[in-house]
């Protein structure tokens, strides 16, 4: 049997904020008839967001190959229809982009680790030995995480009572810091079955941890982001090799079954489409807790007897999964994607105090108002987002470039029109350990190679060849992309916007960008470039960006 729930009643579109929130209660959000004998609590891709945020889900999220038109590549009205979500409901606000600004006004911010702590405590009141599992991308993404090298998040996740985690951006703190945290500071194991010593090709981290829960053995296997040294700077963790390593996963599943596991849970940072393929090809995994691609799905997706769970990002959701495991088999599953409405869920006082203490040294710097925005500032989406339009504008102007490139990261919360832009908000969109805003020259041919390369990382029909970010964001240049073509043929009609001329393959252009994976990249940190630009603007007003034409969807 499989059962899952979508919370809340709908039809609240025109109500006042107060009425909307009165219609939602903490009891509704947490209500769950405890089931079976094992409970899992999944949180992932928090990106160091300790406080409630706005986060607009993507409008454009194209699936290719077998994933075409399949969740999570369903957005907007199609998503509402697929999952039977009422227009204007809290579920629409939490899970989709339509009417985002109006609904954000009605329902308020989401997330906050103090609210998450309340939810975890409530689940543990039902099931004291519930396993709390963190899918990674936890120690990076905010001002305080940057300044403390992830210490604020380590302290918070220890206090939350996490039982195991896996990783991606964690490694961008550098291998020495990761080792220090893993060996001395984490109260729980740091798992990665696919992380190997690249000299001897031997496992570098614990692949799994066995837990006895409800009288049964639950194996939690960790899978770190497979493309660490490619998508992020490999020189920061030079001794490690990653990869999907499907055969290795099959071996580890067999190993834990031989060791007596009644139930196998994969805590994964593969990305949803990679996990979909892995589930199809590797037998014996009961549940995959997916991560990396930031998808939030109100129901599990069943692939080859494996239930795929997608819990979203930025602390916006928690998944509770109850399992009935008997006689060495999983007999049933019950699931609920719990949205963390910050105005509805009461903060846990102990966690709130810890968060405030972690932030206190930086509070004055973070709270400084740099400007205002009249535009909705968001990042998530395959091709562009207004946050990156603003960053590209800043690069073009402050670094005097023809063309700007901003990486297709999926992290970074949203700001609604009318909001102040505080320094903290700029860091929420930029805080990472290789922020230098470079200025260099590139031929038109090289630019085309770069765009084709990134496009293939997103639109290769085989998910094992995808890296899970979005398309590199471009300022000062437009192009057409046919997502169905092979690498080298997707990108056409590259045009320099300031002159309207076609990009010349042999001509050299001045490029400004940030987040280069090359060691020794020079330039000011991107947050300084963006802060200077916003101060000059005073109020951000972005024009609609139609410089990218997408076909083949």
């Amino acid at each position: 049997m499989a059962a899952s729930a979508i919370w809340g009643a709908g039809g609240l579109g025109q109500w006042s904020r107060l009425a909307a929130q009165q219609a939602l209660t903490q009891d509704d959000l947490l209500g769950f008839d405890t089931f079976g004998n094992v409970s899992l609590v999944h949180i992932t891709d928090v990106h160091a967001q300790l406080k409630p945020i706005w986060f607009r889900e993507p409008e454009i999220n194209i699936g290719v190959g077998a994933a075409s038109g399949q969740p999570p590549h369903v957005t907007g009205k199609d998503f509402l229809k697929l999952y039977g979500i009422e227009p204007g409901s809290p579920a629409q606000y939490a899970l989709t982009y339509p009417d985002f600004v109006a609904l954000a006004n009605a329902y308020g911010k989401m997330g906050g680790m103090d609210r998450v702590a309340t939810v975890v405590k409530a689940i543990k009141a039902d099931r004291p030995d519930a396993l709390v599992l963190d899918g990674g991308d936890t120690w990076q993404g905010s001002y305080s995480a940057l300044k403390t090298h992830g210490q604020d998040m380590v302290n918070v996740m220890n206090a939350l009572g996490v039982d195991a985690m896996t990783a991606h951006w964690e490694f961008t703190l550098g291998i020495d810091r990761v080792t220090e945290i893993v060996e001395n500071e984490l109260n729980f194991p740091f798992l990665g079955a696919n992380i190997f010593d690249n000299e001897w090709d031997e496992p570098a981290y614990e692949p799994y941890k066995m837990f006895e829960r409800g009288g049964v053995q639950v194996a939690v296997i960790g899978q770190a982001f497979p493309y660490m040294p490619i998508a992020n700077p490999g020189w920061m963790f030079p001794g490690l090799s990653f990869g999907v390593r499907q055969d290795r996963m099959a071996e580890v599943v067999a190993e834990v079954r031989d060791a007596g596991a009644d139930c196998v849970v994969l805590l994964s940072h593969n990305g949803f489409d990679v996990d979909r393929k892995l589930a199809a090809n590797v037998d014996g995994i009961n549940v995959i807790l997916t991560g990396h691609t930031h998808d939030a799905l109100p129901e599990p997706l069943l692939v080859n007897k494996t239930h795929l769970i997608a819990t979203g990002s930025h602390g916006k959701f928690i998944s509770r999964i109850d399992l009935d495991v008997r006689d060495g088999e999983m007999k049933g599953i019950k699931h609920k994607l719990i949205p963390i409405f910050s105005d509805v869920i009461t903060p846990d006082p102990d966690m709130a105090a810890l968060i405030d203490a972690e932030r206190a040294p930086f509070e004055a710097d973070m709270a400084e108002v740099i400007g205002q925005t009249d535009s909705l500032l968001y990042r998530r989406g395959n091709f562009n987002g207004t946050w990156d339009d603003l960053i590209c504008d800043a690069l073009l102007k402050q670094r005097e470039a023809d063309i700007a490139l901003s990486p297709g990261f999926r992290w970074g919360p949203t700001l609604v029109p009318g909001a102040d832009i505080r320094r903290e908000d700029i860091f929420n969109a930029t805080a990472m350990s290789y922020p230098n805003a470079y200025r260099s020259e590139m031929t038109g041919e090289m630019l085309h190679v770069v765009l084709e390369d990134v496009a293939d990382n997103l639109f290769n029909p085989d998910p094992y060849y995808q890296q899970g970010g979005d398309m590199v964001r471009v300022g000062g240049m437009g192009y057409r992309i046919d997502v169905t073509r092979p690498q080298g043929e997707r990108i056409t009609d590259m045009t320099l916007l300031k002159t309207g001329e076609k990009i010349d393959a042999s001509k050299t252009y001045t490029i400004a960008g940030w987040a280069s994976v090359n060691e020794g990249t020079e330039g000011p940190p991107i947050w300084d470039v963006v802060e200077t630009h916003i101060r000059e603007l005073g109020t951000v007003q972005l024009q609609p960006n139609d410089s990218v034409t997408v076909t083949g969807t």
């Binding site: 090709d201 031997e202 982001f225 490999g234 060849y465 890296q467 970010g469 280069s516």
Partner: protein, 138 residues
């Protein structure tokens, strides 16, 4: 003598290196495959080639091949200026017919492995390895 995994790997690597035969430069992949097969039809199954889907460093890509019962395994990088990578030969006393090495790939391409079995039959498998400039996963 107690052998550690590292020592065993080292010995395996050395053995693989010694068994690597120089192949004539600039031979085309088709010629190499025809020479290796010696007129036998090329089948599938019985050979595993393990390679990363995306190379972490195109200059040193770890691969391994395993073909139980093989007398020789040839590895070709189809997109390299010189496709011949190596040929491993296994004598009758070989405990297993598998080998691991690291190869250099000029760009995204198919790596092909062929095995000649004890009965003279030949099987083939391939894997696509992407060599990417990377940098935008997030």
């Amino acid at each position: 003598m107690q052998l550690t995994r590292r020592q065993t790997l080292l010995m395996g690597a050395a053995a693989g290196f010694l068994a690597t035969l120089p192949l004539k430069a600039r031979a085309t992949a088709e010629d190499l495959i025809a020479d290796f097969a010696g007129g036998a039809d090329i089948g599938e199954g019985g050979i595993d080639l393990t390679a990363p889907e995306i190379a972490e460093n195109g200059n040193t890509v770890p691969i391994s091949v395993d073909a139980p019962g093989a007398t020789a395994i040839m590895v070709l990088a189809m997109g390299n200026p010189t496709p011949a990578v190596c040929t491993f030969k296994f004598g009758p006393l070989a405990g297993s017919q598998s080998a691991s090495t690291r190869i250099r790939l000029a760009g995204t391409q198919d790596v092909i492995a062929l095995a000649k079995m004890g009965d003279g039959s030949v099987v083939q498998t391939s894997a696509t390895v992407k060599v990417t400039i990377g940098g935008c996963g997030g």
